[in-house]
């Protein structure tokens, strides 16, 4: 799956968590722009993990601050 396809799928998964309807760009941050708390992060990550059959460990999550970084990480993880 290429980056554009990964992006499209993650966008679908993110929609229900994006309670305020923030426009998501590559630079949108999860903590500040989307205001995800730790529980939301866990649920959102679990959905992505199940969708792509991957693991995004807490260590990897710590490196991901914005949407673009997430798409990059998932694109790489699902290709491995």
């Amino acid at each position: 799956m290429d980056r554009a396809e990964v992006d499209a799928r993650i966008r679908e998964l993110a929609a229900p968590f994006n309670k305020k309807g923030v426009t998501i760009t590559e630079d949108t941050t999860f903590a500040n722009d989307l205001e995800f708390d730790s529980l939301t992060v866990m649920d959102f990550v679990a959905e992505i993990e199940d969708e792509f059959d991957i693991i995004i460990s807490m260590n990897q999550q710590a490196e991901i601050e914005n949407y673009g970084q997430l798409v990059d990480a998932v694109t790489k993880l699902q290709a491995d």
Binding site: D37, S38, L39, M42, D43, A46, E49, D50, D53, I54, I55, S57, M58, N59, Q60
Partner: protein, 416 residues
């Protein structure tokens, strides 16, 4: 290249005046000040001026029933326990002033470890200075770089800190969700080292883990299993060995972590295991090596208490009675509880918000009842909880009184 030489010693205008490393705590300082400004008695600054028994104390000048301690088995004033402590204080002095691996292992530490081996019927026992250090030490030492730790998202802070101190990949799963746990284990590379960390009783809501199923799944994927039984020791299971015993999986778990600061009634922590190489932990586990060992009086009280807990079946039965009665009574009064049925000695009463929770806490303490106010981030799902933890020494009459105080406070605050 240094630019220091062309700069003045001090900047002429100070940017961000009043800002320092403590600025990151401003939000929590404001939250606390806001709460106390309303005249609320500080729930996190209670002083017990006198302790009358395992279930009663003078708190802020009032005689109070204690329903928020972890003194589950009421061992703190046991005459044999106190005598053992006094004798050790006389014979061995007030402290060891040294590490377990240097000059800090006395006869009492070995006797305490023997008591643990007998209590759990396991080959090895290692005593730490606190339960926090036991989790911190064992988890960070056995799971290193390239290994994976799979753990419940509601795990205790000491478990998270143990994960953070090691360099393993940390993979949490939704609380008590067997399927979510299995999915994660399945995705981990087969050759990687895996540790599953679970708790018998989760202390915030007082619910237990489905250990029979979870331990089986962990073993299926070749993971080692560590179970924290801090809140179940002495009480749950036929011999008080915890939820692992009740679920019939004690022989399948690799490590049990526990504490002396709950049912045992003093302070300290431990790990028991049947692993043939377990003893090497004493040399490689930094939170064990680089701290002073427990004072002789503490290990003497712990050893005596542990041996007495082996024969505590009557107390266990009475504690279950108390738990069932309080749970049923609170439910009948209309309070929302953390579990549908009583699963442990902890009963969590869910509050609508922090403000109501604090008001309820104050109404209870003024009515002569101490419970634990728990708030985010310690609580799951950002809940505010009034946590009640029962003691085997609470009499039937006291449980009745507790329910009356709850009823009155709940009506005054408008929760029921």
């Amino acid at each position: 290249m240094s630019e220091g030489i062309i700069q003045p010693d001090q900047p002429e205008t100070i940017e961000g005046e009043g800002k320092d490393l403590f600025s990151k705590f401003d939000d929590i300082i404001a939250l606390r000040e806001g709460l106390l400004a309303s005249g609320q008695e500080d729930p996190f600054n209670l002083v017990m001026e006198k302790v009358l028994s395992p279930t009663r104390a003078i708190c802020n000048g009032r005689e109070t029933i204690l329903l928020g301690t972890y003194n589950y088995m009421g061992m703190t004033f046991d005459p044999d326990v106190i005598e053992a402590g006094q004798q050790a204080l006389t014979d061995f002095g007030s402290g060891t002033t040294g590490s377990r691996v240097l000059n800090g292992t006395y006869q009492g530490h070995k006797e305490c470890e023997e008591a643990l081996k007998d209590f759990y019927a396991m080959d090895h026992a290692m005593v730490f200075s606190t339960g926090y250090q036991a989790n911190l030490g064992i988890i960070s030492t056995i799971a290193g770089k390239g290994d994976y730790i799979v753990l419940d998202i509601d795990s205790h802070a000491s478990i998270w800190d143990g994960c953070a101190m090691g360099n393993a990949e940390v993979v949490p799963f939704k609380h008590n969700d067997i399927e979510a746990m299995e999915k994660r284990l399945k995705r981990i590379p087969e050759e990687a080292g895996k540790l599953v960390v679970l708790e018998g009783v989760y202390s915030m809501l007082g619910d237990i883990a489905p250990l029979k199923e979870m331990v089986a799944v962990a073993k299926k994927y070749g993971a080692m299993v560590l179970v924290d039984e801090a809140h179940s020791m002495g009480f749950i299971g036929e011999n008080g060995r915890g939820v692992v015993e009740q679920a019939g999986v004690i022989d399948d778990v690799d490590f049990i972590i526990g504490t002396f600061s709950k049912s045992v009634g003093t302070v300290g922590g431990f790990c028991v295991s049947n692993h043939p190489k377990f003893e090497i932990m004493r040399l490689v586990c930094r939170p064990y090596v680089f701290t002073a060992s427990l004072p002789p009086s503490v290990v003497a009280t712990a050893a005596t208490s542990i041996r007495k807990l082996m024969h505590g079946s009557n107390k266990r039965a009475h504690l279950w009675e108390n738990s069932k009665r309080l749970h049923g009574g609170l439910k009948d009064l209309g309070f929302q509880l953390g579990t549908e049925e009583p699963q442990s000695a902890i009963i969590a009463v869910i509050m609508p918000d922090l403000e109501k929770g604090a008001a309820m806490w104050e109404a209870l303490i003024k009515g002569g009842l101490y419970v634990n106010l728990a708030r985010p981030p310690a609580t799951p799902a950002n809940m505010t909880l009034l946590r009640c933890s029962l003691c085997a020494e609470h009499s039937e009459e006291e449980v009745g009184q507790i329910l009356e105080i709850f009823e009155q406070a709940g009506k005054d605050v408008g929760i029921i």
